[in-house]
Amino acid sequence: MSLHGVIAAFADPEALTQAARAMRDKGYRRMDAFSPFEVRGLAQILGMPRTRMPWAVLAGGMAGGLLVYALILYSVEIDYPVNVGGRPLHSWPPFTVIAFEAAILGAALAGFVAMLWANGLPRYHHPVFNAKTFTYARGGKFYLLIEAADPKYRKGLTKGQLTRLGAETVEEVEA
């Protein structure tokens, strides 16, 4: 029965933010925080690099649009060129309409998938759920988790530091 880390519950976002900042100043790196809604800036404090999600979305959009436009071009120019209403084979104005829709679709799908991928979801079983005090669903509680794998992690010491930072409860989390 190995140890995943210790989790501390705080009363409100501000407390959590301060605790997180403090622990980071103490040199802890492998931390995570949990809240019923986004606590602005918390991720940065915990040392999250600037997210690359926008690039994924952009790439998805480009891919969608270009692929579909290419498909259209192939169909009307190469595979089955046919005189439709005396219009030119390459009638770009209508084609761009469809390409635009495809771009949006590609971007949205890419964004969604990238978000799950980067967040490692779905992850149905996670150690944090083992914490008795982790009642995320109840709302109103804000948690800070220090992983046992953190080099600076010392069982008693870390728990003490969290308590001093005003944690309502501090609990060890089994892996």
């Binding site: 149905y124 079983h125 996670h126 005090t133 982790f134 009642t135």
Partner: protein
């Protein structure tokens, strides 16, 4: 601790693995289904290519064409003049079989047909939908050989489809007829060996026979 009182560890530790497996599985299944479906449409299961069709009279093109060497037109006499190549009337069969194999059991239906006047019933092998108007005479006239579409019938004990006869397949030739052309005098030959200068010949055929591929993909060429 009872359900609903926190304790959010709902799933066992192998749930993650299962989830991953299911997700990847779905992706691969989708891809496989797409590729498989595309292939299936063109396979013999759908097109019936290479599947001999049972007939009331097990007529063998292998025997009559391959061994004896009958000309296609002996039986399919409309092929040069009409849209339909035509099937031989019973009396055509009997021109020979009144002398040969007169007692053969497999020919009983033929004799019966002649006697009773009830026509023979064949299962159609090379059929196209009824909204497709195929004309044999023009193909013959423009140097498209029998074997180009019907294959090596002299090797078929029972008639079978040599090609899918799908629109895709038809258009393949209608867009670029060149590779399937031969001098019209040779269209009834089987296993025809192209001469050395075949490309030259085909180029000249296109102009001599006044073939305009750009007009051969018009809808009404086949659909009216």
């Amino acid at each position: 601790m009872q359900i609903g009182e926190g304790m959010p560890q709902v799933f066992s530790s192998n749930a993650n693995g299962i989830a991953r497996f299911v997700l990847w599985g779905l992706c691969f299944f989708a891809i496989f289904a797409a590729i498989g479906g595309t292939a299936l449409l063109r396979s013999g299961f759908i097109t019936g290519v290479g599947r001999p069709v049972a007939q009331a009279v097990p007529f063998s093109h292998k025997h009559h064409v391959g061994d004896i060497g009958l000309d296609c037109r002996y039986c399919h006499n409309g092929v040069e003049t009409s849209a339909s190549a035509g099937l031989p009337a019973t009396e055509v069969c009997m021109t020979c079989h009144s002398q040969l194999f007169t007692g053969a059991d497999m020919l009983a239906p033929v004799r019966a047909s002649l006697a009773s006047g009830q026509p023979l019933q064949w299962q159609r092998v090379n059929s196209v939908p009824d909204f497709v108007y195929f004309n044999h005479s023009i193909h013959i006239a423009k140097g498209v050989a029998c074997e180009t579409c019907h294959g090596d019938v002299d090797g078929m004990p029972l008639m079978q489809r040599a090609h899918s006869l799908s629109m895709e397949w038809c258009l393949g030739c209608h867009r670029d007829p060149g590779p399937n052309l031969r001098p019209p005098r040779d269209v009834f030959l089987l296993h025809w060996k192209p001469p050395q200068d075949i490309d030259e010949i085909r180029r000249s055929l296109i102009s001599v026979l006044d073939i305009h591929p750009e007009t051969m993909t018009d809808c009404y060429v086949c659909h009216r």
